[in-house]
């Protein structure tokens, strides 16, 4: 028998069952988190992920609802392992520079104890609605230092050997705007970690340590094999792409990005030479987020059934120049990097693959269209979908989140009951997708009429540079932001009076292939 189907006593016959068993544990962690969490952002928009790791810190399974968390948590577990955890220790962290992404993402890691040994790790990352800092929501506009963005936590032992350190929790809660909600969400995260630990212990007891080790090897090797097989099928190719972000958050000067992508013998190497140095505003991001974007793009090239584990990232290497916007270091601000720069990296990868001759979709809207209204005693935040790029398979879907986000919209009727606002229009922005053999998807138009004095904060992209078409397809339409009919900047904060109307038109996706001549 070839080594292809047999891996140290654990063979192809057991793989599906084992893959199901570990995925089920990760999925149940997600269920426990959603059931126990207080905030709508975790419970309904599902901005959270859970994963299990073996004793060597290898990620065996992840339940991700939102791609920006894909494969980003191994860094968290490594950061915890570097602190020599005791069996049963539960750590909390959000440091972008030590296992995290941006500050609102609080990651909890439990060192799973079996007697006096650590047999694995469970980790849960959730986007919290506030972690302090200079503005409510902890996604400040105009921040230039990390400490402005909220409470900064390197991996701390929140529960040594499973016993909660109350003083430490009080310290965390004393630094956020909504302590009760945070306490509830953190408790839900602990519950989810514990549920994962129980599931992992049970599986290990059933299978035995040596068979389980073989199973983990086989699962990671299997996913890696599927990923490499796809890259081998692509062949040895090379592609380049460049792009910009429309401002760093404090100025409108474009931030350049460049990528050289190479596929060689089943590996994918990414070199970001030519990309902007670190910037003053908060579109900087850490390498773990760049890696998540790379894994997402590779994942989208694979069949849907490939199990999500650390094996998928093995063929990928990433190089960034010194002092790069994609390799943020203390004290850089990073809040917007996670939401917008991650989208740009995704766009770069797709564009470079297209340049290399690989059949991938044209660019999608490339932004999450972050919109926050805030008035006396209320804040409303939402992100808007737009056009997906056309692809070799067909027209790009319209009015969806592309790339690293996939959160739902807020129903008009719910919004109007809860906030002093009316949605005067919410429609498909017809014709905004780029024309082509397979046209890009259309963006959306959303018109808000405010009924009280308040402010609006916009963090949007693709307002000056359109999502590009591929292989002769036309570009998608750029997004437009307006106040009472007059265009306003992509990133801004404006004071509004009752009756003012803010209109957001989100970008369309690029077209794929030249449209047939009429």
């Amino acid at each position: 028998m070839s080594s292809r189907t047999r891996s140290r006593g654990f063979d192809a016959l057991g793989l599906s069952v084992m893959s199901n068993a570990v995925a089920m544990i990760a999925e149940e962690m997600g269920t426990v988190l959603e059931r126990g969490s207080l905030s709508p952002n975790i419970r309904e928009r599902r901005d959270a992920s859970s994963a299990i790791f073996d004793s060597g810190g290898r990620m065996i399974a992840q339940a991700a609802h939102i791609p920006v968390h894909l494969g980003a948590m191994p860094e968290s577990v490594r950061a915890v392992m570097a602190r020599k955890p005791a069996p049963g220790d539960v750590f909390l962290l959000n440091s972008p520079y030590d296992g995290g992404s941006h500050l609102p993402d609080l990651t909890m890691v439990e060192a799973v104890a079996e007697g006096s040994r650590i047999i694995g790790y469970t980790a849960v990352r959730a986007h919290h609605a506030d972690v302090g800092g200079m503005s409510p929501g902890s996604m400040p506009q105009g921040a230039t230092e990390l400490v402005q963005e909220g409470l900064h936590l390197p991996p701390i032992r929140l529960a040594p050997r499973g016993r909660l350190d109350d003083a430490l929790l009080e310290l965390v809660l004393a630094n956020v705007r909504t302590p009760a909600e945070r306490r509830g969400d953190l408790e839900a995260q602990r519950g989810a970690c514990a549920a994962g630990a129980a599931g992992w212990r049970m599986l290990l007891a059933r299978e035995g340590p040596s068979r389980m080790r073989a199973a983990c090897d086989a699962l990671l090797a299997y996913t890696e094999r599927r990923a490499r097989a796809r890259l081998l099928e692509i062949g040895d190719v090379e592609g380049r792409a460049d792009d910009i972000l429309e401002g760093d958050g404090v100025s409108d000067v474009p931030v350049p990005f460049a990528l050289r992508l190479r596929v060689r013998r089943g590996t994918l190497s990414l070199d970001f030479a030519g990309t902007s140095p670190r910037v003053r505003g908060n579109v900087n991001t850490v390498k773990a987020v760049v890696r998540a974007a790379a894994i997402f793009v590779l994942r989208s090239l694979l069949d849907d059934d490939v199990p999500t584990n650390e094996g998928i990232g093995r063929p990928i290497t990433i190089a960034t120049p010194d002092n790069c916007v994609l390799d943020a270091r203390w004290p850089s601000a990073v809040a917007a990097g996670n939401v917008e720069t991650s989208q740009r990296v995704t766009d770069l990868l797709f564009a470079a693959f297209a340049d290399a001759g690989v059949a991938v979709p044209a660019q999608g809207q490339g932004t999450m269209n972050n919109i926050t209204f805030g008035g006396d005693g209320w804040t409303f935040y939402e992100t808007l979908g737009g056009g997906q790029g056309g692809s070799p398979k067909g027209r790009g879907p319209s009015a969806v989140h592309v790339g690293m986000s996939n959160t739902r919209n807020t129903p008009i009727e719910s919004l109007e009951r809860s906030y002093p606002m009316e949605i005067a229009e919410y429609t498909i922005r017809r014709g905004s997708g780029g024309n082509g053999l397979h046209a890009g998807g259309d963006g959306v138009l959303r018109r808000y009429r405010v009924l009280e004095r308040c402010t609006v904060t916009l963090v949007t992209e693709r307002r000056t540079r359109a999502p590009r078409g591929a292989l002769g397809g036309m570009d998608g339409a750029m997004g437009i932001n307006r106040l009472n009919g007059t265009p306003i900047p992509p990133k801004c904060r404006m004071e509004l009076a009752p009756g003012d109307v803010v209109t957001i038109e989100t970008p369309g996706g690029g077209g794929w292939g030249a449209a047939p001549a009429r």
Partner: protein, 582 residues
């Protein structure tokens, strides 16, 4: 006039179960007739051989709605929507169809943009911002008439709270288009959230004309032979006379699977148990369900064939693992089972109908677990062919035949176990405290392994496990429902208001029924949250007692309470007749 008959139409077989006054059960299985399901129903009744005059009721589970949604063969619908909100069906809830497959589209809406008419009117949460004028209603009616629709659906913003504009428009359209049915969103689903309400109302319009024709045809056919008017099972486990069911087409979308869980619940109660997980294993898929306190769990929401239908439905989670699921080796070298299925035709290799791919059923045969020469429905088993197919796969994997067969079954078990855990754990139910009811053709074969995997200690394999849905239909009581929007803080609802609400809903639900039992639920949530729980209530409740019950339910389901007011968004009542005893 003593025999109650249930007829369940599935993709392959039409099952019949008849229960007489003494509780004796007779069953029949005939081939389905997809082109006209009523033909199979009539054949099954003939096969039973009972005198039509001795049959007191014919209860029917149908896949007519499911199929027309799957095949997109419904009516030509014109949709009238508030100007500025005409694209709701395309916008959905903004989530994409595939997290990683970026070219994947949601199924196209049942109404395309060219058949949506914008109405210049606007009701907000606070006021009528733009009143609907008689002139505008007339203009819309003319525009609708020009589209020559089979049926018209009206769904305006905030109509759950104020249905006056829909009513004005409905009258204008009825005048302009006599004889064309008009469906109002505020009637089909009087609840907040415009997308779900509109999509449900459109599904109703899309399915109604064809469902009405089918049920009239079925009724006429049965009447010819002297049978009573048929009754139809709803997705929520209710039972409606065919005439009424024809006007509630969207509520029949999961008629079939609901019958299975209703049947399982009846058997469970008869055996003296209360809480159970159910698994119904058929040829192409397995349905997992949950029974609490002897009643199937009914929840609103879900979608059928990509069409969201936010009406109450018996909880059923379907996984593509069944007897016909195909075993194969993927390009990573792993043995896999499903999602492709050989279905009934060509079916497993052993059926000898041209199937060549090894299936779960073939694995059972190779292991000697299925040793009958013939299955119900007259299928002859070719054991040698099944064995050969598994052997071929085993060679490809370099493994022994029995190990390969066992692995195939274990993989199917794993995905079914995952579905069972999901339906229970997501609702705070510990599977170990439940009985496993295993039915459908494959239920008894997989029950023990599933119970082991979930730590369950009791398995109930009901008699007539292969036709349990039909049995469920035969014994299910009549059950009619009514709903209305409430949108009030619970604490502001005094006792007379609650009693009034209960009475109003009870009357609407009961209709002509004689002394039904009433089960009413308030859909409540913490103000500002986007998810609700169904809280049982009676005429003796106050808003305060409803809020307290909500909090207790919330603890059971989610493990905590919030320091926020409780809001009742809507209320429903079911009027339930007497169930037949087994």
């Amino acid at each position: 006039m003593t025999i109650s008959v249930g007829v369940d139409v599935g993709g392959t077989y039409t099952d019949l179960a008849a229960v007489d006054a003494s509780g004796r059960v007779a069953t029949r299985k005939v081939l389905s007739t997809p082109a006209d399901q009523s033909e199979g129903v009539a054949t099954a009744l003939r096969a039973l051989g009972a005198a039509p005059a001795s049959v007191s009721r014919v209860a029917h589970g149908t896949t007519v709605v499911t199929n027309l949604l799957l095949e997109r063969k419904g009516a030509r619908v014109a949709l009238c929507a508030t100007a500025g909100a005409t694209d709701l069906l395309e916008l959905r809830r903004q989530e994409r169809a595939g997290l990683y497959d970026l070219s994947l589209h949601h199924p196209a809406p049942l109404v395309d943009a060219a058949h949506v008419v914008a109405v210049n009117e606007r009701i907000s949460a606070r006021a009528r911002l733009i009143p609907l004028s008689a002139m505008e209603a007339e203009r819309v009616a003319e525009a609708v008439a020009a589209l020559q629709p089979d049926i018209v659906v009206l769904s305006l913003l905030h109509a759950y709270a104020d249905a006056s504009h829909e009513a004005i428009l409905a009258r204008a359209i009825a005048q302009a288009l006599p004889g064309v049915d008009v469906v109002c969103g505020s009637t089909v689903l009087p609840e907040i959230r415009e997308y779900e309400r509109t999509a449900t109302a459109v599904a109703e319009g899309y399915a109604r004309p064809r469902v009405r024709r089918y049920l009239e045809h079925l009724g006429a056919r049965l009447a010819e032979s002297g049978y009573p008017e048929p009754e139809v099972m709803t997705s929520g486990g209710g039972m409606l006379p065919a005439r009424e069911a024809a006007g509630r087409a969207a509520s029949l979308a999961l008629s079939g699977p609901a019958g299975g869980v209703v049947g399982a619940a009846a058997v469970l109660r008869a055996a003296g148990f209360g809480d159970a997980l159910t698994i119904d294993i058929g040829g192409t898929s397995a349905d997992a369900g949950l029974i609490l306190g002897g009643e199937p769990l009914v929840e609103p929401g879900g979608s059928v064939a990509g069409v969201p239908i936010a009406l109450p439905r018996v909880l059923v989670e379907t996984v593509s693992a069944g007897g016909g699921s195909i075993a194969w080796v993927d390009d990573g070298g792993a043995l896999r089972v499903g999602p492709h299925s050989a279905g009934a035709v060509p079916g497993p290799v052993a059926f000898g109908r041209g199937g060549t791919a090894p299936t779960v059923t073939d694995a059972h045969i190779a292991l000697g677990r299925l040793d009958a020469a013939e299955l119900s429905g007259g299928v002859q088993l070719d054991r040698a062919a099944a064995h050969a197919a598994i052997t071929k796969l085993a060679k490809q994997l370099g493994a022994a035949v029995p190990r390969t067969a066992e692995a195939i079954i274990a993989i199917a078990d794993a995905s079914m176990a995952r579905a069972l855990r999901r339906v229970s754990v997501e609702r705070g139910v510990d599977p170990r405290a439940c009985v496993l009811v295993a039915f459908g053709g494959g239920g008894p074969l997989h029950g023990c392994a599933l119970a082991d995997a979930l730590g369950m200690r009791r398995i109930l394999v009901p008699p007539h496990a292969g036709v349990l849905s039909a049995l469920g239909l035969a014994i299910a009581p009549e059950r009619r429902e009514a709903a209305q929007s409430v949108m009030q803080l619970a604490l502001s609802m005094k006792r007379p208001a609650v009693a009034g609400l209960f009475q109003q809903l009870s009357r609407a639900a009961a209709g002509r029924m004689q002394k039904p039992r009433i089960a009413a639920h308030a859909r409540a949530r913490y103000a500002g949250q986007g998810y609700e729980l169904d809280v049982p209530f009676t005429a003796r409740d106050t808003g305060a007692t409803i809020a307290a019950r909500f909090a207790a339910l919330h603890v059971g389901r989610y493990g905590f309470t919030l320091d926020r007011p409780v809001e009742v968004i809507a209320a429903r009542a079911a009027a339930i007749g007497k169930a037949r005893k087994l």
